[in-house]
């Protein structure tokens, strides 16, 4: 096992002008190249945690933070955001507000421009990023004239030009239709497989967690409820009930069958698994 790229130790956080801690005693670590899904109900603190991982909280937004968060060996509370943004990129929840320039190419180049890199290098990186997210040919478009899935991919490309090792995505598909969702997931899968990036994704979609995530972190009212493989989490009745998690359809089918007195060999989370287990049972 390699050294973790993200380490979160005894993390507590409260927003400025607020007395309640919205994150309490959070501890976990993520290894290089892993896909971690973060889930939990509305207001649980998922967005706050994403912003903490990228150093924007508390550096740009203030508030009170205890404990420490180490990303690629850097302390997110102390390290320069210019340095951090080249280690950890973030795609925000709302596709509208994170695109603020007037051309896709400028949008994608914005971060690298801020780093003060040479012009040729920026153009090279922006072209590469647009290729990765499959949006070549959209350079001159106005970002508002894109579909939801395209907007999120522009946002991913915008983070990619900083050449980070880790990508945090906060509910990138919550406002997308099925096609947009698939487009985004295809890109994220490629980031992980082809470029070996570590992926942290906030999402409610259990089917996707089952298919892509190595681990799942469940937050409940600011506390870490559980951390485990998708199978461990989805088969844990207490956790599911407490955090209002919807389990994959094939998993609920398993429970229905169990109710009716038919027990499959294992708890399935993927459709293929379900098919295999049912076939096994009836043959």
């Amino acid at each position: 096992m390699s050294k973790p790229v993200i380490e979160v130790n005894n993390l507590y956080y409260r927003y400025p002008r607020s007395n309640d801690y919205v994150l309490k005693d959070i501890n976990f670590s993520v290894e290089k190249g892993q896909f971690l899904a973060i889930t939990g109900e509305n207001g649980a603190g998922k967005t706050t945690l994403s912003l903490i991982l990228s150093g924007i909280i508390p550096q740009a937004k203030g508030g009170k933070m205890h404990g420490n968060v180490i990303v690629c060996g850097l302390d997110t509370q102390k390290e320069d955001l210019a340095v951090l943004s080249q280690k950890i990129g973030i795609v925000l929840e709302d596709p509208e507000t994170q695109l603020f320039t007037t051309k896709v190419f400028n949008e994608v180049a914005f971060g690298a421009e801020n780093l003060g890199l040479p012009r040729e290098e920026i153009i090279k990186r922006a072209k590469w990023a647009l290729k990765v997210v499959r949006l070549e040919g959209y350079e001159e478009r106005h970002p508002t004239m894109l579909s939801g899935g395209q907007k999120q991919r522009v946002a991913i490309a915008s983070a990619l030009t900083m050449r980070p090792d880790i990508m945090v995505l906060d509910e990138p598909t919550s406002q997308l239709d099925p096609i947009g969702t698939i487009e985004v997931f295809e890109v994220v899968k490629e980031l992980k497989q082809k470029y070996g990036m570590t992926i942290i994704m906030v999402t409610h979609k259990s089917e996707e967690i089952a298919a892509f995530a190595d681990n799942v972190l469940v937050i409940n009212q600011g506390e870490l409820l559980t951390f485990g493989t998708p199978k461990e989490v989805f088969s844990n009745k207490e956790v599911i009930k407490k955090a209002w998690i919807t389990i994959p359809q094939v998993s609920s089918l398993y429970l229905d069958l169990l109710d009716k007195g038919l027990q499959l060999e294992e708890f399935p989370i993927l459709p293929e698994e379900g098919v295999r287990l049912v076939k096994q049972k009836i043959s």
Binding site: S85, L92, A109, N114, G116, P118, R119, M162
Partner: protein, 157 residues
């Protein structure tokens, strides 16, 4: 009488300014405006903040329309058929959510800019290059002449 006239003149001036604002954002690429301002010596943080705000005007208009639609759906028709004083009292209901929405939005845009290292370095690179061309010199000359002529008429006629 003179006071009234003076008031009217001021009103028209303000109106002209307000009516011309969208024209600026429609004809000038916002990004280029920012670069232009930086070239003229404005710190890039201020230039970008100002021009990004300008960029938000169209979406504010859209927001107002959304709120009005929401009001209509709840059978609120003062803006269509109400009397003047009714309309006057209905405006705060429109403006308050708009201002709050704009503040929220600008905070989110701020986060998005922070996430991409905005303002972290003293100097930044611009991939767009703007140059002063003959056209620019021509329009500059034209504008200065216009201002000169108007001032002349204002003062001496």
């Amino acid at each position: 009488m003179e006071g009234l006239l003076f008031g009217l003149v001021i009103c028209y001036r303000l109106l002209t300014l307000i009516l011309l604002m969208p024209l600026i954002s429609m004809t000038t690429e916002v990004n280029q405006m920012a670069i232009g301002l930086v070239k003229l010596g404005m710190p890039y943080k201020i230039a970008y903040t100002a021009t990004t705000a300008l960029n938000m005007i169209p979406s504010l208009e859209e927001q107002v329309r959304t709120i009005m639609d929401a009001q209509k759906l709840r059978a609120f028709t003062v803006f269509e058929e109400g009397r003047i004083h009714e309309k006057l009292f209905a405006y705060p209901a429109l403006v308050v959510p708009m201002v709050i929405g704009a503040m929220k939005k600008s905070m989110l845009v701020g986060v998005a800019m922070d996430a991409r290292a905005f303002g972290c370095k003293k100097t930044r690179t611009y991939i767009d290059v703007i140059r002063f061309t003959t056209k620019d010199y021509a329009s500059l000359v034209f504008l200065l002449t216009l201002i000169g002529v108007l001032t002349y008429f204002n003062l001496f006629c």
